[in-house]
């Protein structure tokens, strides 16, 4: 038996099925509604829905006439968790980097004020070589 993640990934490997999932993320929909954006017959769409249903990515209602499709996000989350860790690593690091860069540039402005330098249209660039002139742990306003 194929494991759940492999089934999930196989189901997601098709762009039409991803588009269907994106549509279902907005709310449940009938097969006709789901087929509307695609140049595709209803049976062709139904085939895609069967793949998604077997992968437990969607569930379908019981009513014979109108069997609305609903998104089942569980397996999708499991599949994304592993990459999500790395994405989170970078999102957090970028946020911290952004804050740190503001801090550094603010420090440079202050340091220049303290030194009584003339205004410079490139704050923070004076005297900075390839190595920082101070420890990054220096506090704002500290005399350099």
């Amino acid at each position: 038996m194929a494991d759940q993640l492999s089934t999930t990934f196989a189901a997601l490997a098709d762009s039409t099925r991803r588009a269907i999932l994106a549509r279902l993320a907005l709310g449940e929909a009938s097969v006709t509604e789901l087929a509307a954006p695609f140049e595709m017959s209803l049976p062709a769409v139904s085939k895609h829905l069967k793949v998604l249903e077997r992968a437990h990515l969607i569930a379908r209602g019981r009513e014979a006439q109108w069997r609305p499709c609903q998104l089942q996000a569980g397996p999708l989350r499991d599949a994304a968790d592993w990459l999500e860790y790395y994405r989170q690593f970078w999102t957090d690091s970028f946020d911290r980097l952004d804050e740190y860069l503001s801090e550094l540039q603010e420090e440079d402005k202050l340091a220049m004020k303290h030194k009584g330098n003339k205004s410079n249209d490139k704050p923070g660039r004076t005297g900075r070589g390839t190595r920082p002139k101070r420890m990054p742990s220096s506090r704002r306003g500290e005399t350099v």
């Binding site: 490997a13 762009s15 991803r18 999708l76 994405r87 980097l97 804050e99 900075r128 190595r131």
Partner: protein, 150 residues
Amino acid sequence: MMATVPFSPKAELFLARTFDAPRKLVFEVWTDPRHLARWWGPRGFTTTIHEMDVKPGGAWRYSMLGPDGKEYPFDGMYVEVVEPERIVFDGSIHASPEQRVWTEVTFTEQQNKTTVTVRQMYSFESDATRGARIGWNQQLDRLTEFLAEI
């Protein structure tokens, strides 16, 4: 010459962010260990840089201390260092050297702002990547984000 990934990637991640700082400074905080330790890693983690020899063939080694008190050591090697536009490094989790991560970072400047892109490729045969087709990861990421917003 651009270096090529020394393994067949099983997954890939691409991110970009624009920072309100000149490229020279952004490159500097990526390549100076005292700066790097200040922002590297997820929130709640403390990074200690043990070794960072920023030149092609130079080694890097650091560990991240998690909020759970657990230490995560990583090490690797710089492959390309083109100041101030590009850094490429190969790395792995110390405990499992077969799990490699290849990272390409680019820096472009426009009007005193710097856009950083990170492209990361993974050699892992993890449950999540086994049987997956390379290339859909980014779509999946977007879809997951989209779902999270609902």
